[in-house]
Amino acid sequence: MDWMALLPVQILHGLVYGMVLFLLASGLTLIFGMMDVLNFAHGAFYMLGAYFSYSVLVWTGQFWLSLILAPLGVGGLGVLVERIFLRKVHPYGHVPQLLLTFGIAYILEDVVKILWGTEPLKVKIPPLLSGSVSFLGGSYPTYRLFILLVSLSVFAFLFLMLFKTRIGIIVRAAVAKKEMVAALGFNVPVIFLLLFGVGSWLAGIAGVIGGPYLITHPGMGGSILVDLFVVVVVGGLGSIQGAMLAAILIGELQSFGVLFIPQFSLFLEFLLLAAVLILKPEGLLGEK
């Protein structure tokens, strides 16, 4: 009887964790899913977002300002990385991309250790979001509901951008048929540059939002990176809706797995990945 009362809270826990995963994976969906760049530095970009936001908070004390500035910084860095390194390596396929982004992640992680130290940082939540709201007879932290809100806005932004605007049509066309779009007069390398920038910008947002929820420390990017790839692949490469579905699925799996079968909760996510790849290699909502 007791767990019936627990059920809504547990579902919400899973949902919020899934939303954080989606927030993180949304950028990777653009970069890996659409552009086909095996970006192992995505976790490092996320980490940078969290650290930038920490510094902006220390200097100005403005959370909302950090939500604007930190992702822009990360996005800018992403643009530089694409222009200087990735563009040159892109035609050689996945393995060089992997090693390159691995190297960049190594460098960024150590730079963070030098500048901010190795100790986990405590990031303050603004007073507006630090309370809790009463919910179905219990109370729930406001910040987690805020995460839900941000994640849904990002989803809506990406969905509308990709499917309802002219820019979105051009981007999707450029991903599908590069040469044809270039022949029509569009500057395809710039489209890819901006797409990579937006993906990194999204990782930065995830860093600002996720920093206080998960812990801000130098290993935060590396530890969650694999989960992000799982989300993107299970959802289907390049599918925003798929990533959302997969993120929620994995969030709930984690939430209930820890509750009911703690011994096997470590397995669930990868069992799901293996099952999807064996039965439906294009992902849940992916196109063949």
Binding site: V95, P96, L99, V233, L271, L273, I278
Partner: protein
């Protein structure tokens, strides 16, 4: 053509002579580093059967390195195996696991192949982490290295680093030799053929599924042999040997060495093992330097160190047509 062949044999013999006399030249402490290089060379060579020769990107080879390492330790501990049968048992367990996973993997190629192998690796890791009574979890398992007993000859003390070095050298050399001949066998050629175009290979009439499965199992076997050597060298094994970082490391060794040339992975494994050792004793922030090296290599030597050497050789010694002035 003829003279370059002679040169190759001369270089190879010089290397073998050097390796044979290495214990006389190096301290025991340095010899440990060479043993690590040898073991990782074998991993990378085995892995390159998939990556370079077959064009198959696997994210999950730490699973085989790990299962070889654990199996060897467990048969030493529970069944009192001597060294060589223990190493072989490690390899066979790796091959069996390779069959199990290969059944699913052999249908795939490209990213789905890479990601499914990653999922399998993560499952093996989770199993090792949770099955504590058997594996000791992250605390690991420490077992002393047994002696090498040869029937009709007696047993050789393997606690001596020099003796163990020769043992590893012989095993690794035999395995690498096999891998070299494998590239010349019809099966090895078929592996390369499928890298170029799997669909057409099927149309010619070859069974691509069975070929890929077989190649995958062979690669798994050699990785597991190396794993077994590694754990009996360390006399310790923990789940760190199976995690995804290890899989990435194996991939990086192979790529940095050069996947397109047979001896490339050996070069990569030796270079990076040495670099790791040198940098970690030099500075705390060795990852920055290592990261920078990766970036520079990918940008300027996309075919790895071996590719760089071959290109330099050609640049120096190629016959250039003389222009009539």
């Amino acid at each position: 053509m003829g003279s370059s062949r002679v040169w190759n044999w001369l270089l190879l013999s010089a290397l073998l002579v050097l390796l044979a006399f290495l214990p006389k030249l190096l301290s025991e402490f340095r010899l440990n580093l060479v043993i690590t290089m040898l073991i990782y060379s074998l991993v990378a060579i085995g892995f390159n059967i998939l990556l370079g020769q077959g064009g198959l990107l696997s994210f999950g080879h730490a699973a085989y390195f790990g299962i070889g390492a654990y199996s060897a330790m467990l048969v030493f501990k529970h069944f009192g195996f001597s060294l060589l049968p223990g190493i072989l048992a490690g390899g066979i367990c790796g091959a069996l696991l390779g069959i199990l996973f290969g059944i699913f993997l052999a249908r795939l190629r490209g990213l789905p192949f890479a990601l499914l192998s990653l999922a399998f690796n993560a499952l093996v890791y989770a199993a090792a982490e949770k099955w504590r009574p058997l594996t000791g979890g992250e605390d690991g398992l420490a077992v002393r290295r047994p002696h090498l007993s040869i029937p009709g000859f007696g047993s050789i003390n393997m606690f001596s680093t020099v003796n163990f070095y020769y043992f590893v050298l012989v095993i690794v050399a035999l395995c690498v030799l096999y891998c070299w001949f494998f590239t010349k066998t019809p099966l090895g050629r078929l592996d390369t053929c499928m890298r170029e175009n799997e669909e057409r290979t099927g149309f010619i009439g070859y069974n691509t599924y069975a070929t890929k499965l077989l190649v995958y199992v062979i690669a798994a076997f050699f990785c597991a042999i190396a794993g077994a050597l590694s754990s009996s060298f360390q006399e310790f094994v923990s789940t760190a040997i199976i995690n995804l970082d290890k899989s990435a490391e194996i991939l990086i060794l192979t790529f940095v060495g050069g996947r397109g040339i047979f001896w490339g992975p050996i070069l990569g494994a030796s270079f990076l093992t040495y670099l790791n050792d040198a940098l970690s004793s030099l500075t705390q922030y060795w990852a920055i330097i290592q990261g920078a090296i990766f970036v520079v290599l990918v940008m300027y030597a996309p075919d790895g160190l071996a590719g760089l050497i071959v290109r330099t050789k050609n640049w120096l010694f190629d016959r250039v047509p003389i222009k009539k002035g």
